[in-house]
Amino acid sequence: MSGVGRQYGVLAEYDTPADAIAAAEKVRDAGYTQWDVHTPFPVHGMDEAMGLKNSRVGWFTFCGGMTGFFGGNLMIWFMNSFDYGIVVGGKPLYSPLFAFPVSYEMTILFSAFGSLLGMLFLNRLPRLHHPLLKNKRFGSVTHDKFYVVIECADPKYSEEETHSLLEESGSTHLEVVKE
């Protein structure tokens, strides 16, 4: 039971999206790295306020799509032309034209796989538990409250400074979250 009681981070509650954005900008400018904002719905401009770069999921999508496209072509070439050639309607055994609709669908399917798996991988999901989930107050994140959470694991974290930063940012409630 050595983990119990250890601090996970500081939770700051806000009433409006505008407050949460203003707070996120402050935390970003203070140079924190291990932190996150939790809102009941997507807030426009939050990416920029948090200083988040373009998500890397796109690369997984792209690679998945390419795999699907060329894999589909390869499959059709192998089956209809190489392994067991079938002449249909006097057309060539293999043509990128008739292979295109199927390859195109494979592109979409594999991009979707790429996106989903890439997202899970980058978010380190699935995960069975998160310290925030047992915090009573945090439940309102699915209702009408906005939260900024700075983790203790952040190299810039110091109890005093982080608390005062969040207090100054207009938080209505501040709380330490335990592991």
């Binding site: 401009g45 373009n54 034209l97 008739f98």
Partner: protein, 412 residues
């Protein structure tokens, strides 16, 4: 603060030194036209170059009309900064009518079915549609319906600038809801009569959608450039956002795929069925230089823009988007040429001096006329909708609904 400095004169474009350009373009166009008329061997080239240029600019007018209508149909807020200049482009129907006069006069030698010598058995059933009477009646109907639609939309919009009445938005919404049907049907007829009927033996029911997809694609590229220029000149800089550019880019990207989807489908169905009545159209376009133009459309109209705009941040990156818009104009011109010019050049001879001079001349002349119209309209009216109900949303400002603020007041 950065916005303030941007609005100050430092980064503002000075377009005064370009003021003579439209007139110069028109003069160039007239010179090319005179050459095209005086030299007998240039006649055909001139006629089809003129038609190609005409269909290119028709694309921009119809594409703008479409964007104005979808703006109302989806109640979109991001198009508000762009709507006024799109309305101006879509109202350029008098210019279209003016430029259509030569086509109407010489239709007999442009469209084979307009003269008795061009008749063949394939025209028997199609002659209900393809005969001189319906050609002229249809032209009048098309221009009249576009005039009614585009001016109806713009008048309500200008009215709202003065009154700020919500009823104007409702009027525009009604025009858009009914107009989208009128638009779809009229665009299809226009492109069937003026472009597809050059080879009336051919069949393709999706030809209207094909032209529509390319048109909106080109219009979005043009919108991007116009938005960039009008932001620089200060016309729409108070209202346009960084995200507006990204949104135009995203829609441009979507139409890149849509055009490719439609053109592939048209080609694929014809290729798969392999019926001579349909295949002859594409077989002719494999001759000589048309093969290369076809490949240019395949790679340049789809793969190049698709792959370069795949990243989300490419859509707001000006060094990518502005060259891409210029490229889109070239590609749309190549596409229009691919459709029209094999009629007079079926063997696909390479670019000749005549075709180069006349193609550029016709494009320049029409660009000049449209530019003059656009500048005149732009200066005559406010550059963006002044009292549109979605303006706050466009600017990213949250305005509490009246009901919410009044209930709060009563609680206090």
């Amino acid at each position: 603060m950065s916005k303030q400095t941007e609005n100050n004169d430092a980064s503002r474009f000075d377009l005064s030194k370009w003021a003579k350009l439209p007139n110069q373009l028109i003069a160039g166009g007239i010179l090319a036209a005179i050459a095209g008329i005086l030299i007998p061997s240039w006649h055909k080239t001139f006629a089809y170059s003129y038609l190609t240029a005409y269909m290119f600019f028709l694309s921009l007018v119809l594409g703008s009309m479409f964007l104005v209508m979808v703006h109302h149909l989806f109640d979109a807020y991001w198009l508000v900064p762009l709507r006024r200049f799109l309305e101006h482009v879509s109202c350029a129907i008098p210019v279209l009518v003016l430029l259509f006069i030569p086509i109407a006069l010489f239709a007999g030698s442009i469209y084979p079915w307009m003269s008795p010598e061009g008749h063949d058995h394939s025209l028997a059933i199609k002659s209900i549609m393809y005969n001189p009477y319906s050609f002229y009646i249809m032209a009048v109907l098309l221009f009249a319906s576009w005039y009614w639609l585009s001016n109806g939309l713009r008048n309500a919009s200008l009215e709202q600038d003065k009154t700020g009445a919500a009823s104007c938005t409702i009027t525009m919404r009604r025009y858009a809801a009914g107009g989208i049907f009128v638009f779809a049907i009229s665009l299809t007829f226009a492109v069937f009569y003026w472009m597809k009927s050059l080879e009336h033996q051919w069949f393709s029911t999706m030809y209207g959608v094909y032209y529509f997809a390319g048109s909106v694609w080109t219009t979005l590229a043009t919108t991007y450039v116009l938005a960039f220029v009008l932001k620089g000149t200060g016309h729409i800089s108070p209202i346009i956002q960084q995200s507006t550019f990204k949104d135009i880019g995203t829609l441009f990207f979507a139409f890149t795929v849509f055009y490719a989807y439609i053109h592939f489908s048209q080609y694929f169905l014809i290729w798969n069925a392999a019926i001579p009545e349909e295949t002859f159209w594409y077989v002719k376009r494999e001759n000589g230089v048309w093969w290369s133009v076809g490949m240019l459309i395949l790679f340049g109209h789809f793969f190049v823009p698709f792959l370069s705009l795949l990243r989300i941040d490419a859509k707001k990156c000006l060094p990518i988007m502005i060259p891409m818009a210029v490229w889109a104009w070239l590609m749309h011109y190549a596409d229009m040429s691919f459709n029209i010019k094999p009629v007079y050049n079926p063997t696909g001879e390479g670019i000749t001096f005549a075709s180069l001079v006349l193609s550029i001349g016709c494009m320049a002349g029409m660009a000049g006329v449209f530019a003059k119209w656009f500048i005149k309209e732009l200066n005559a009216h406010p550059a963006f909708p002044q009292k549109d109900p979605r303006i706050a949303e466009t600017l990213g400002v949250y305005v509490e609904p009246l009901s919410a603020s009044s209930s709060k007041a009563s609680n206090d």
